[in-house]
Structures are given as structure tokens and as C-alpha cells.
């Protein structure tokens, strides 16, 4: 279910309401996107974002002018031009034409049957027969009428043709192209049979004879385009081949995907492992290349087309993997390369699981191999796609976002210098939004900050910075992101923003531990313990996942669950913070104010969580004593930085022997199991994962 070509989709929309409905259910994940093509949609969303920001912008600072648009708008206009240089069809060597025998089996019969479509087809068939009968009878009875009818149809057809051309200006490119081909190849249209494919494969695969290759490629092309131009008017002329049955279809696709790369490499004499673009560029002037070029191009085009048509994740993953193998060939076709990036980014962002990762591998390879030209494009496209997809995060979708984030960071890490420029621009925008929020405290600005998009963007850069912190040029980015995070924490102090607060502290902890700088978070953490929620109702309350929300609904606040969450999260975060500095010489001072507050809190907290707090207090006190004892033994002063740095390094390196390290590890284990439990409890995560695989077909209409 759910594998539809473009024309087929159009048709289904018109006639197959029930099927469509079912599909819509599955598509719920992506239904927000318009059908105007992926790039447009992504652009649109970014545009929306910037527009939104500008709307808030009271001082009239032109954010759009300074940031995203100027930096991140590479022109995508060239894509439209690609469609015109169509040379997908190859002239064939007639000598090895395989004359198809008449194996015209009943096509309907070899279908498994039982599908809704099939049933419907049969019904229509019956009705058609009935009506036809009637018409014939009428015609017989009234010869005058048949004449009248003929003239009438003629007039109608003329009219329809007119409509066809005027109506579909959007797709005229494609239509015209296929029309032209149709008229050219009308006479050549032949039925592609299984045996023909087999023989061609044999010729090409075993005898290394390229004479059959064009036919094979044409057949492949037909298979890839199958179902796309199937309106009745142009049906017969859709391609030079019409495909006999599903077996044929499978055969040709499988063979081509599996072998094409090897065949081309073998013909061109490129080793299988070589993946430098220079290899192709060097070949450019050789006669061999010249003869093979159209065939390579046809293969690549067809495969890209296939990627747009197919929605099944396995087929997609397979085609992507095969395409990745022959990625060097793209260096000869820049326009195809751009299209490849577009498709890959789209699949990366929308496809789930393996498709996403396969697509990302392509993006990564492209960025690596064509780094000089394509790195920025890849970066921008992926960033845009990420931003566009991080608007809404549902429980199950969270993992996918994390995957997107991680892979984006990985992409960025390929060229830190280039990507840090982009990061700077993006973060400046974040900072601007934040400052507006701080200054005006307007509701819109606040909402803008307290959104998934904003937090995901921070998250993205936090990961990027902490992954590449060894690079000195990132120091100012580090400072900026910390300030932004602090600002966010400062702006949302209330208990309803607990998830956001926890996130900010996690980020700060993460940055601190990766960069080694000191970021005070104790007060931020302890604030969560002192939320004034009023009287707790004592009810356990509904389960809610802290990680899948930013703002909690009001009713949550009074539940015991919320209090538990507050305390446990605070303890975890505080432990991380203390754990980082547990061997530092100033640990006793670092812990002293938190200890005062924790003790106070310990007296007032609810019974069943008191022991957890108590344990933390004890552990911290123990460590304070430990450090103090060690400290009393040393002779150096605070201004002796070097000695301070080496203080307790031996113990630290010695492994987790110190009591606090053990405590830290146990808390981390508990935290992990707790979050696991939380995720399992929540329904819907499984479902969301499934829907993640289903793509909005409309989006991909325009990609090609």
C-alpha cells in the first residue's frame, strides 16, 4: 500500500476517496507540509520563521536582512532548468533487439487480487460492459444518433486538449517532455517481457557487451517512470516500453540497481573503491567516457526519479545505498548532483530509520567528495530541513529529531571553520530573539522562545560546540550560547516551565563538562526545588514525559508526580554538576551554599523522597570532607594555578574509587533507567515511529 506515482496520485485523489482517507491517517505526521515540494516548504517555513521574528521586532532591526536569508539562501533556481535537458531515452542498437513473443497473459489475473482497487476495478468493468451494451443497442437502432455522437466527440476532444495544455502549466515541463517523447517513440512502443530482460542481462552482465546496455537502460527508465504518465490520452506512449508484469519490473530494477555501478566502473576502468571526483574529471575527455556519458546520466536520472516515486523504506534504502556507491559519477553532472542533494536532504529529514541514515550517508559523502562546492549547500539545506522539522516534537518523534541533530553535528564537524560561521549567524539570531524577549516581555516574543524550534536550535548548537570544543575558534560561540541559555532560564522561572529549565541546565552541564569551563548552575537547579505550587493534592497524577514537553499543563503541577520529577531531576543535575568538580580544590566552597539550601529543603520535603535528598547531602558532605582533608595537606596558594590544576588529578585518574564518583555513577544509572521507564510508559511512541516512515507524497512532487 501507499506506493503511488505522480499521475497515479492525481488520479487517486479524484477517484479513490476511501484509499485516500486511509492514506491520510498514516500521513498524519507530515500533513502539515504543503504539496509544493520539499524545498519550497522548507524555504517557506524558514521564511515564516524569519517573518515571525520580524514581526516581533520592535526596534526594526532587520533580522531577515542580516541573517538567515543573506547567508542561508543559496539559489535553488537552477533546478527548474534540469528538466528540460532530457536525454533519458537512449537510442538502441537494433541488432540486439529482442523480438518479444506474444506472452500477453491477462494482466489482471496475475494480480494477487483482493485489494480494494481490484474490487473496484471489477465493478467498474462490469458497469462499463453494461453501459456499452446499451449504447451499442441505441446505435443500432438509431443510425442518426451514431453520426451525431461522432461529431460531438470530436468537438469534445478538441476542447479537452485545449484544457490540457492551458490547465497544467505547472507540469507542462514534464508533460511536454513526455509528450514529445511519446510522439517520437510511439511507433517503437514495445512490450517489455521477462525473457527479454533476462537475455539483455546476460549479454551485459556475462559477456560484457555494451550493445544491450542502452536497451536495458531504456527499460530501466521505463520501469522507474512506470505509472507516472498513465493518463489515458498518453498511456500508450508513456515510454518506448510497456512493462509486461511485476516480475519483469522487479527484474530490471533489481539488476540495474545491483549491477549498474559495477558495469560502469568496469567499462571505465575505475576501481571499486575509488571515490575521488578527480577520477571522473580526468576521464572527461576520453572517448570511452564520451560514449558512456549518456548512459551513466540516464541511469542516474532514472534512479533519482525512482527515489521520488517510491515510498517504501526498503526500496528507498536500497536505491540510496546503490546510488551512494556510484556517487563519483555525479561530478560530471552538476545539475543532477544538486537534485541528488535535494532528494537526499528530504529523505534524511522525513524518512525514518534506515532511509534517513542512508540519505545522510549520501549527504556526508557529497559534502566530503565535493567539499569545495557542495559543503555549504549541504549544510544550509540540512539546517533548513532540521529547523523546519523541529517545530513540533511528539514523544516518538523525539528520537528522530535527536538523530537529525546528531547527524547534522557530524556533518558540521567535517569542516568546523565553515560551519562555525553558519553557527554564528544562527546563534546571533537566537540571541536577538532572546534579547527582545528580555526587553519587551511581550507575549509573542516569549512564545517564540518557549518553542520547540528555538530549543531544538539551541540544542543543535550546543551539541556542535561541545563536539568541536577543542577548536579554539569556537570560544566566542561557547560564550554566546551560554549566555543565551542563561537568558532562557532567567526568562522562564515558573514551575510550568520545569522541562525547559531542566533542558537549560542539561545544556549547561554538557557544555561545562565538554569545555572544562566553570558554569554555575547550582542556583538554577535549586530553584526547581523551591517552586511554590501550593498544596499538593496527593494524587499521583497522570504520567507525563518531561523530555517531550517544554511547558507543562497546569493540572500537572499539583500532582505528586510533578514533585517527584522536580526532586529527582534536581538531584541528577546537581550530581552532574558536583561530579564534574568533585576533585577540584574549591569543591567545599562550591557545595556550601547548595548544602545550606538542601538541608533546609530536606526538612520540608515529603516523606518518601526525603531519603534521596538526604543521601545526596551525605555524599556531598563526605566529598567536602575528603577534599578539605587533602587540601589541608598542600602548601600552595590559590594563585598557583599549575599546582591547583594538578590537585587530586591522581585520584581522579585512578578510576571511580572516590565515594562521590561511585554515587555519581549510581545516580546516572538510575536516571537512565528512569527515563527508559518513562518512555515505555508513554503510549504513542511506537505509533509515531511507524508514521515517521510514511512520507507526504505531495512534498516530493516538485523535487524532480
Amino acid at each position: 500500500m501507499g506506493k503511488l506515482g505522480k499521475k497515479a496520485r492525481k488520479f487517486a485523489k479524484k477517484n479513490l476517496q476511501s484509499v485516500l482517507k486511509r492514506k491520510r491517517k498514516l500521513k498524519s505526521m507530515f500533513k502539515k507540509k504543503s504539496s509544493r515540494g520539499e524545498q519550497d516548504a522548507a524555504d517557506d517555513q524558514l521564511q515564516d520563521e524569519t517573518n515571525l521574528l520580524n514581526g516581533r521586532n520592535l526596534e526594526g532591526e532587520d533580522i531577515e536582512g542580516t541573517s538567515l536569508d543573506s547567508i542561508f539562501s543559496e539559489d535553488d533556481s537552477d533546478v527548474a532548468g534540469d528538466d528540460s535537458d532530457s536525454d533519458g531515452f537512449l537510442s538502441e542498437d537494433s541488432s540486439c533487439m529482442y523480438v518479444p513473443q506474444s506472452e500477453n497473459g491477462n494482466l489482471l489475473e496475475d494480480n494477487g487480487g483482493g485489494s480494494a482497487l481490484l474490487v473496484q476495478n471489477r465493478e467498474i468493468h462490469l458497469e462499463l460492459a453494461k453501459k456499452k451494451k446499451k449504447l451499442d443497442r441505441l446505435k443500432e437502432k438509431d443510425p442518426e444518433f451514431s453520426k451525431f455522437l461522432e461529431s460531438y466527440h470530436k468537438g469534445l476532444e478538441e476542447l479537452r486538449n485545449d484544457e490540457n495544455y492551458s490547465d497544467e502549466d505547472e507540469e507542462s515541463d514534464l508533460n511536454m517532455q513526455s509528450m514529445n517523447e511519446d510522439s517520437l517513440n510511439l511507433k517503437n512502443a514495445k512490450l517489455l517481457t521477462n525473457s527479454a530482460i533476462d537475455s539483455w542481462c546476460k549479454i551485459v552482465g556475462e559477456q560484457h557487451n555494451i550493445s544491450a546496455l542502452p536497451s536495458l537502460l531504456n527499460g530501466y527508465r521505463a520501469a522507474c517512470h512506470y505509472g507516472t504518465s498513465s493518463t489515458s490520452a498518453v498511456d500508450a506512449a508513456a515510454s518506448s516500453y510497456s512493462i509486461q508484469n511485476s516480475e519483469t519490473f522487479c527484474n530490471i530494477l533489481m539488476f540495474m540497481l545491483r549491477e549498474a555501478d559495477n558495469i560502469f566502473r568496469g567499462l571505465l576502468g575505475i576501481s571499486c573503491s575509488s571515490c575521488r571526483k578527480e577520477t571522473i574529471l580526468d576521464l572527461k575527455n576520453t572517448a570511452k567516457w564520451k560514449s558512456l556519458k549518456p548512459m551513466v546520466k540516464s541511469y542516474l536520472r532514472s534512479t533519482l526519479f525512482l527515489l521520488n516515486q517510491v515510498t517504501d523504506s526498503e526500496i528507498l534504502a536500497f536505491s540510496l545505498t546503490r546510488l551512494r556507491a556510484s556517487i563519483i559519477f555525479f561530478s560530471a553532472f552538476p545539475s543532477l548532483l544538486r537534485r541528488l542533494i535535494k532528494i537526499a536532504v528530504h529523505l534524511w529529514a522525513t524518512g525514518g530509520g534506515t532511509v534517513s541514515s542512508c540519505a545522510f550517508l549520501i549527504i556526508q559523502d557529497v559534502a566530503l567528495i565535493f567539499s569545495s562546492d557542495c559543503f555549504d549547500t549541504c549544510l544550509i539545506k540540512t539546517y533548513k530541513a532540521f529547523i523546519a522539522h523541529s517545530k513540533f516534537v511528539k514523544p516518538g518523534f523525539y528520537k528522530h529529531i535527536q538523530f537529525l541533530r546528531n547527524s547534522f553535528v557530524e556533518l558540521c564537524s567535517l569542516d568546523v571553520e565553515k560551519s562555525s560561521k553558519k553557527a554564528l549567524v544562527s546563534m546571533q539570531q537566537l540571541a536577538k530573539i532572546l534579547q527582545q524577549g528580555l526587553r519587551t516581555r511581550k507575549k509573542e516574543a516569549i512564545e517564540k522562545i518557549c518553542s520547540w524550534q528555538y530549543t531544538n536550535c539551541i540544542d543543535l548548537w550546543v551539541m556542535f560546540i561541545s563536539a568541536n570544543i577543542s577548536d579554539n575558534s569556537l570560544q566566542h560561540l561557547l560564550f554566546m550560547i551560554i549566555q543565551v541559555i542563561n537568558g532562557v532560564a532567567y526568562l522562564f522561572p515558573g514551575p510550568r516551565y520545569l522541562p525547559l529549565r531542566l533542558k537549560t541546565i542539561q545544556w549547561l552541564n554538557h557544555l561545562s563538562s565538554s569545555s572544562g569551563v566553570f558554569i554555575p548552575v547550582a542556583s538554577l537547579v535549586l530553584d526547581t526545588l523551591e517552586y511554590k505550587i501550593g498544596k499538593e493534592s496527593g494524587q499521583p497524577g497522570k504520567a507525563f514525559n518531561i523530555s517531550s514537553a517544554i511547558k507543562l499543563p497546569k493540572h500537572c503541577l499539583k500532582s505528586r508526580k510533578f514533585q517527584e520529577e522536580c526532586i529527582l531531576s534536581a538531584i541528577e543535575l546537581l550530581t552532574v554538576h558536583f561530579g564534574q568538580w568533585s576533585y577540584h580544590i574549591s569543591f567545599p566552597e562550591l557545595a556550601s551554599i547548595p548544602l545550606i539550601r538542601l538541608r533546609k529543603f530536606h526538612e520540608t520535603t515529603i516523606e518518601n523522597l526525603r531519603h534521596v535528598v538526604k543521601r545526596l547531602i551525605d555524599q556531598v558532605e563526605q566529598n567536602v570532607e575528603f577534599v578539605q582533608k587533602k587540601r589541608d595537606e598542600v602548601a600552595f596558594s590559590p594563585n598557583d594555578q599549575q599546582s591547583v590544576e594538578s590537585f587530586l588529578q591522581l585520584e581522579k585518574g585512578g578510576g571511580g574509587n572516590a565515594p562521590f564518583t561511585q554515587y555519581y555513577n549510581s545516580i546516572m544509572e538510575k536516571a537512565a533507567s528512569r527515563s527508559l521507564l518513562m518512555n515505555e510508559k508513554l503510549p504513542g511512541s511506537e505509533k509515531a515511529r511507524k508514521t515517521g516512515k510514511v512520507h507526504d507524497k505531495g512534498e516530493r512532487l516538485k523535487v524532480n
Binding site: K3, G5, A8, F11, A12, N111, I124, L128, K131, K134, L135, F145, F148, L149, Y152, H153, G227, S230, S232, D235, I243, S246, F249, C250, E314, I315, F318, L361, N406, V409, E410, Q435, M463, A467, N468, I469, Q475, V484, N486, Y490, L511, S513, S514, S515, F518, P520, A522, S523, E530, W581, P588, E589, S592, I593, I596, R631, V634, S637, P638, Q641
Partner: protein, 835 residues
């Protein structure tokens, strides 16, 4: 168009006059006295036909009318030119209906207008441009002169005119619909107002009429009337207070001028009174509140010297803590302007206002909006005023004593020389009286008077402040009796405390020394935040409020040159503990910074134990909070270290530093008394961690401080105050967008933390080498194919079906056509059954 209308209107009037008027009365004004405007001349030229008439006409009133019309057009009322005509006649009649008893005035008005026309000032302009007092006075003089000359002549003519016009009026009135009534009322208001503004002397009577309109049933009209009256009163109220003549004075024969003046003044005053009464009555109605308060505030602001100020003030103060933001802001602004602009009313209003506010606070048991006390901040007290003569000016008790003594002595003297100087006394008495009158009139109170007023105002202010303090104290004691069963209160419990404390800080130099002890006790208790010994659960005052208490106590002491020997130690203890109670976001960091500045940086005492304790605490503090707070603390810390050389031992881990140690040998981080903390025994290890701080400014500062050595005494002092440091780094102000602002330490190579992970470790890429399940793939592909095929087939079938269906339809059409062409055939029936 406008001109046409005017001409028409004029023509009508002329016609009417033609009929009604008895033989013309040639004006007795000598030709040279009449100033003819250009416009008049032009008009005269254009209407030669009427020339004969015009010469006999009441030219002045006509000119006035033209101006009035113009005014009306320029006023914001939208007048439909079509509607204008009947209304105009109505207006004309109204004018004549009210005028007859004072025809002189109307005549004068016209004359005066023309007289003023000399300097190019048309009536229109005058109505917009406010006349200065001098101008108005000049006008009055002129009009009086002319009134004498032109006397009684016109009286008769107007009397004759009245009756027929009244009849016409009644007729017209019937025709007016409700809407027109509204319009006409509006216009009438405008007309009347304009007339009054143009010549208050002449049209003073119309005031009453306007007042009458304000009693209308229509709320909109009432509002308009109130506002128009406001504009009029604002403009015509004289710059002095009107004193109505006593009976004795009334009996005396006076000149006509005086009579007229008296009439004018009494009318003005009585209408004003009635207007105010109306306002006060309407103030209670919610729908009128905004308008009324606006009127009252504007009046009080504009004419605080005039009669009935008391009632205005009372109304303003009553609304000063209104829950309605608009009303409250208006009232506060008015009181502020009263306080800042003393010259308008000689300071009397200030005193009255302050006293009223004090009473208000008392009456409401300190539960008011903070704004109502905040206005005190705009008071200015002249310190030099009383000092040379009476140094204890604020000290009421002493003052009184002095006065008593003086009086006593004087009376003794008088008794002795009573008779001898009897006559002389009388003379001086007279002189004093005259002087008093003059003073009353001239608004220039002498020094003594001003001193009296100032001290009254001050005492009222402080009375209020102390009341608020006591109230906050009482609350605390009540609360602690309740054993804190209710929720710990936020600032909402003591809404007036913060402005009160700020005010005390500002006026601390004026506080009577006698009250000092009491005040300090109060502040001490408030700073503790609880009267109980266990301060843990009794946070009745917020940290900011308590910090403010400390600040005020220090300000008070400093401003009185620390003349009092009050022990401030306890405030230090409070601050020491408040530092760790501070929560960013909840409490105001600015206040903390101010407290650090005033209590630690500016403190002249040198208690080493205490200084060391604060140094240690501040360092610890800066490890927990944001960069702004950290910076403020570090600046203070540095300051303390610079001042207290011996405290620099804290910077060194010196086992032999025992010489400076106090009684406590080990540092007690959790002690609540700075003196008992034994901080001298500690080492400032915090600086090490702080030098790793993410904020470059903080880390630089920390390394700076740790670089200070005990050896040589650096004399330089930090230039930045804690407040400045706080403001610089607070998130609202700091610009962290532009990375150029941040100077990174280039040689500072950060160590990679253990948690840091290379790019490889976060590789999300899943298994790339999954063996591809070809069979599965084939199946999927064939499914894909089948689906596509089915769709294709479906489409084809549908197309065909559509075509056939269409053909069938076409056949029907065809048949119908045929049916129309030929007669019906028997075939038809069979067809029908088939279909």
C-alpha cells in the same frame, strides 16, 4: 460655500430686522473709534445693495457672529452644511434670547473683538490661543471704558426683538429630531464655550447655561459639557483667589465698574462651585469616573490657587490609590506636579496634599497602592530655609518649646510698656494686617510661613512613613502569633513598604534625631524579617525588602554624620545571611548590589573579622549565581581586600598565618554571625574555580583578585561600583550578540574535559552493511508495480465508463432535439422504459 451660507444667513437676519426693527438708531460711536476690519469692508463693498441698511445696522454683533460661525466651523464638530442653516437661525435666536439683559456686554464684546483685531488677531485665533492674564486685564479695562460711553441705547431694541424670536424658536425646536437635538446641543456647547473664551466678562452668564446642559439625560452630552466647562474654567479663572464681598462691603456704595466686577466674580464663583459639586456627585458613578477624574485633575493642576482647592485635593487624594490604572496615574501625576511646581500655589497645596495622603494612609491601614506613597519622592525640602534662624526646624518639640519661651518673654515686656506704646502698636498692627493681605494676594509667603509649611509637610510625610513601618512590624508580630499558618507573604502584604523605605532613604537627613533610635529599632526588626528566633519559616518580608531596610539604616546613619552611637552590627549580620537567601529572578539584584555598595564598600569601619567573613561569603556566593551577581560580589570583594590589607592573608595558603587569626581557629561556613565564622582561617580557593568561569569578565576579575598580594599595599581603588558591575553584566543589558565585544584570552587553552567526545563517538549512522534482503525487496517491488498497474487500469476503465455514460447522455439530448423537431414517435415510449 461657507461664505454663501453666511451671506444667506445674514440676508435673513437683515430681512427680519427690516420687519421688526423700529426706526434705526444711529450709533453714537464716533467714526474714528470704530475699527473696521478688512473683512467688513470687503463685505460692505460686495453688498452695496444693503449699504443703506448696513450703515444703520448693529455691525459689531454681525461681525461677532461671523467670527462665531467661523469658530464653530473650526471646532471639532462636524457640521453638515445642509443642516447648518436652520441651526444657525436657532443659534441666532438663542443668542438674542439670553443676551437682552446684558446688551452692553454683547456690544462690548464686539467692540473688543474689533479692538483686538488691530494686531491681526481675529476672534478665531483668540479662541485657540489662550490669552495671558495681562491681555485679559487689558481687555477688561477697555471694555469698561467703552461700556461707559455706549450706555443704554441698545436696551430698547433688544427688548422689542425678543418676543417674536422666542416664537420662532419654539417652532424650530419641534422640528428637531433626537439626533438633531444632540447635534444642536453639541454645537450649542461649542458656541457657548467659544463665546465665553472670547469674552468672559460679557458672557459670564452663559456659564450657567452650560452648567444646565451638563444636567442633561444624555451621558455623552454630560461628558461633553463637563469637558467644555473644564476648558472654559481653566481659561477664565483669574490668577487670584476670589473673595466675595462681605455684607458690610455690599452696603457701601461703589462704582459701576466694581459692581460689574463683583457680579462677574460672584457668578464665576457660584458656577464654579456648582460645577465642582456636579463633578463630585458624578465621580461616584463608574461611567463618569474617567471624565470626572480627568476634569478634577486638570483643574487642580491648572488652578491650584483658586477657591475650593480643598475639595479638589480631597477628590484627587481619594483616588490616588484607585485600582483603575488610568485614574491612579492621573491623580499621581497631578500630585507630582503640585509637589514639583510649588510656585503656583505658594506651597499651601503641597502641605494640604501631604496631610491628606497621610490621613488616607491612616484610614486605609496602609493597604494602598505603592504609587500613592511614591509621590512623596517628588517633594523638595529646602534645607537652608530654616537652618540659620532655627537650626532645629524639623524638631517640632524643640521648636514649640522655643516658641513658648519667646512668647512668654514678649508678653511680659508688653505688659510693662503697654500703655506707652499703645498708639505705636496700633500703627504696626495695621501695617501687619496690610502686609498679611498683600501676602495673601501676592502668593509670596515669607520665609517664616514657608518654614511652617515645610515642617508641617515633613511631619506629615514622616508620620506616614513611620505609620507604614509600624504597620509592617505589627503584621509580623501578628503573623508570628499565628505560627505562620498562612502562606508566607510576598510583597503584597506590605505594598507601601518599599516606597516608604526608598523615601526614608531619600529624606533621611531631615529626620528628627529624637526619632532616630525608634526608627533604627524598627528597621532592625524589619531587617530580621521576623520577631521570632527561628527565622526559617517566617519570611514575611522579601529579601529585597529586608535588604532595603539595611540600606535605609545605613543611609540614615551616614546622613546624620553618624552622630548617633547606634550599633549597626546587627545589620551586618542580616546582610551576611541575606546574601545566601538571595534568589536571582525572585529578588532584585540591583538592591543587593546597592546594599553591598553602601554597607561594605562605603563602610568606614575596619573590623577585620567581619571583613574576612564577608570576603569569604561573597566568594562563595559568586560560585552559585549568575555572572551579574558574581561580578557585583567580586567587585565588593576586591574593594574589601584593598581596604583591609590583613585580609589578603586569605589569598594565601599560609599555615603560619596564625598571628591574624581570631578566637575561632577553623572556618565555619554555616555560621550565621560574621564575627563567629572564623573566616580569617580560610583560604579563598573559590578564586580558582572562578577563574575558569565561562564569562571572561568574571574569570579575569577572579585571576586579578587572586593576584593581589599581601606584601605591598596597592592604593588604587576599583572604579566600578557593585551596582555598575551588576548592571553591566545583567542579561537585559549585556549585548552578547556581537562577538567582537568579547575579548577572549588568546593564550588560554582550555583543557578538553573528560566528557568531551569526538565527532566519531556521536556518529548516529546505523549499520551500513545490512545485507539486503533481495526477496523482500522483490516482493515490495512487485507490490509497487501491482498497485501502479491497478491504478492505471482503474483510470483507463473510468475514462471509458465516463465516455460511454456521456454518450448515453448525449443520446438523450439528441432525442429531445429530435422530439422537438418532429412530432412524437411511438418509439419514445420504449426508449423511456429502457432508460
Amino acid at each position: 460655500m461657507g461664505m454663501m451660507g453666511k451671506e444667506r444667513g445674514m440676508g435673513k437676519k437683515k430681512k427680519r430686522q427690516k420687519i421688526i426693527l423700529p426706526p434705526e438708531l444711529p450709533p453714537e460711536i464716533p467714526e474714528d473709534e470704530v475699527e473696521v476690519s478688512d473683512e467688513d469692508l470687503q463685505f460692505f463693498d460686495e453688498n452695496r445693495d444693503y449699504a443703506g441698511f448696513v450703515s444703520t445696522l448693529d455691525t459689531h454683533s454681525i461681525t461677532r457672529r461671523r467670527q462665531a460661525e467661523k469658530q464653530k466651523e473650526e471646532s471639532a464638530l462636524q457640521v453638515d452644511p445642509v443642516d447648518a442653516l436652520p441651526v444657525k437661525t436657532l443659534d441666532g435666536e438663542l443668542y438674542y434670547r439670553t443676551a437682552p439683559k446684558k446688551p452692553k456686554d454683547s456690544e462690548n464684546a464686539a467692540d473688543k473683538n474689533e479692538a483686538d483685531g488691530e494686531d491681526g488677531n481675529e476672534g478665531v485665533d483668540k479662541s485657540i490661543v489662550k490669552l495671558t492674564k495681562a491681555e485679559r486685564r487689558a481687555k477688561l479695562k477697555k471694555s469698561k471704558k467703552e461700556a461707559k460711553k455706549q450706555g443704554k441705547e441698545l436696551d430698547k431694541t433688544e427688548d422689542v426683538q425678543q418676543t417674536p424670536q422666542a416664537a420662532v424658536l419654539a417652532e424650530v425646536k419641534e422640528d428637531l429630531t433626537a439626533e438633531e437635538t444632540f447635534e444642536s446641543k453639541k454645537r450649542k456647547l461649542a458656541e457657548l464655550g467659544m463665546a465665553l473664551l472670547a469674552d468672559p466678562e460679557a458672557n459670564i452668564k452663559t456659564l450657567k447655561e452650560m452648567l444646565q446642559i451638563s444636567k442633561d439625560d444624555d451621558q455623552a452630552i454630560v461628558k461633553l459639557a463637563l469637558l467644555s466647562l473644564l476648558a472654559v474654567f481653566k481659561d477664565i479663572i483669574p490668577g487670584y483667589r476670589i473673595r466675595l464681598p462681605t455684607e458690610k462691603e455690599l452696603e457701601m456704595t461703589v462704582s459701576k465698574e466694581v459692581k460689574k466686577k463683583r457680579y462677574y466674580e460672584s457668578t464665576l464663583l457660584s458656577t464654579y462651585k456648582a460645577y465642582l459639586q456636579k463633578l463630585m456627585a458624578l465621580e461616584r458613578q463608574a461611567s463618569f469616573q474617567h471624565v470626572v477624574v480627568r476634569c478634577i485633575c486638570t483643574l487642580l493642576d491648572a488652578v491650584p490657587h483658586f477657591n475650593f482647592r480643598e475639595s479638589l485635593l480631597a477628590a484627587v487624594i481619594k483616588n490616588i490609590s484607585s485600582s483603575d490604572d488610568v485614574v491612579r496615574k492621573l491623580c499621581c501625576a497631578t500630585v507630582k506636579s503640585l509637589f514639583t511646581d510649588d510656585g503656583k500655589h505658594g506651597g499651601e497645596a503641597t502641605v494640604e496634599a501631604v496631610q491628606l495622603i497621610a490621613d488616607h494612609v491612616k484610614a486605609h491601614d496602609c493597604q494602598l497602592h505603592p504609587d500613592s506613597i511614591e509621590v512623596f519622592m517628588y517633594l523638595t525640602f529646602d534645607e537652608d530655609l530654616g537652618r540659620p534662624e532655627n537650626p532645629n526646624e524639623d524638631n517640632k518639640v524643640k521648636n514649640k518649646k522655643n516658641k513658648k519661651r519667646k512668647n512668654h518673654g514678649e508678653s511680659g515686656e508688653l505688659q510693662e510698656r503697654d500703655r506707652k506704646k499703645n498708639r505705636q502698636e496700633l500703627v504696626t498692627k495695621m501695617r501687619e494686617e496690610v502686609n498679611a493681605d498683600f501676602r495673601a494676594a501676592s502668593f509670596a509667603p515669607d520665609v517664616k510661613e514657608r518654614r511652617r509649611m515645610q515642617s508641617e509637610a515633613l511631619s506629615a510625610v514622616f508620620e506616614t512613613y513611620f505609620r507604614i513601618l509600624k504597620h509592617s512590624m505589627r503584621k509580623i508580630s501578628v503573623r508570628s502569633e499565628e505560627n505562620g499558618s498562612s502562606l508566607p507573604g510576598a510583597s503584597g502584604n506590605h505594598p507601601l513598604l518599599v516606597p516608604c523605605l526608598i523615601g526614608l532613604g531619600k529624606f533621611s537627613h531631615l529626620i528628627d534625631l529624637d526619632f532616630m533610635g525608634d526608627l533604627m529599632n524598627c528597621l532592625r526588626k524589619l531587617a530580621c524579617g521576623s520577631s521570632n528566633s527561628d527565622g526559617s519559616c517566617n519570611k514575611l518580608l522579601t529579601v529585597s525588602e529586608r535588604l532595603r531596610c539595611c540600606i535605609v539604616a545605613f543611609k540614615v546613619m551616614r546622613n546624620n554624620l553618624e552622630a548617633l552611637n547606634v550599633d549597626l552590627q546587627e545589620f551586618f549580620v542580616q546582610l551576611y545571611n541575606l546574601i545566601i537567601e538571595y534568589r536571582p529572578g525572585r529578588d532584585q539584584g540591583e538592591v543587593l548590589a546597592e546594599a553591598l555598595k553602601i554597607m561594605l564598600c562605603d563602610d568606614r569601619q575596619h573590623d577585620m573579622q567581619k571583613a574576612a567573613a564577608f570576603i569569604k561569603r561573597l566568594a562563595t556566593f559568586s560560585l552559585c549565581f549568575g555572572c551579574a551577581e558574581s561580578m557585583a560580589a567580586l567587585v565588593t570583594l576586591k574593594h574589601l581586600l584593598q581596604k583591609n590589607v590583613k585580609c589578603r592573608h586569605l589569598l594565601e595558603n599560609d599555615a603560619g598565618g596564625g598571628s591574624v587569626l581570631g578566637s575561632i581557629v577553623k572556618y565555619q561556613p554555616y555560621a550565621s554571625d560574621p564575627g563567629q565564622s572564623g573566616a580569617l582561617a580560610s583560604v579563598l580557593w573559590e578564586l580558582n574555580l572562578l577563574s575558569k568561569h565561562y564569562h571572561p569578565a568574571v574569570s579575569t576579575m577572579a585571576s586579578n583578585v587572586s593576584g593581589m598580594s599581601a606584601g605591598h599595599n596597592q592604593v588604587y581603588l576599583a572604579k566600578v561600583s557593585p551596582q555598575q558591575a551588576f548592571a553591566d553584566l545583567s542579561l537585559e543589558h549585556e549585548s552578547f550578540i556581537n562577538p567582537k565585544n568579547i575579548v577572549m584570552k588568546s593564550n588560554h587553552k582550555r583543557k578538553r574535559g573528560s566528557g568531551s567526545s569526538g565527532a566519531a563517538s556521536i556518529n548516529p549512522t546505523p549499520d551500513t552493511a545490512t545485507p539486503i534482503d533481495e526477496d523482500g525487496l522483490k516482493k515490495k517491488l512487485s507490490e509497487h508495480f501491482t498497485l501502479l498497474h491497478d491504478i492505471k487500469e482503474n483510470e483507463r476503465l473510468r475514462g471509458e465508463l465516463d465516455r460511454v455514460t456521456l454518450s448515453l447522455q448525449v443520446y438523450k439530448e439528441h432525442k429531445n432535439q429530435k422530439k422537438r423537431e418532429h412530432a412524437s414517435k411511438p418509439k419514445k415510449n420504449t426508449e423511456k422504459t429502457a432508460s
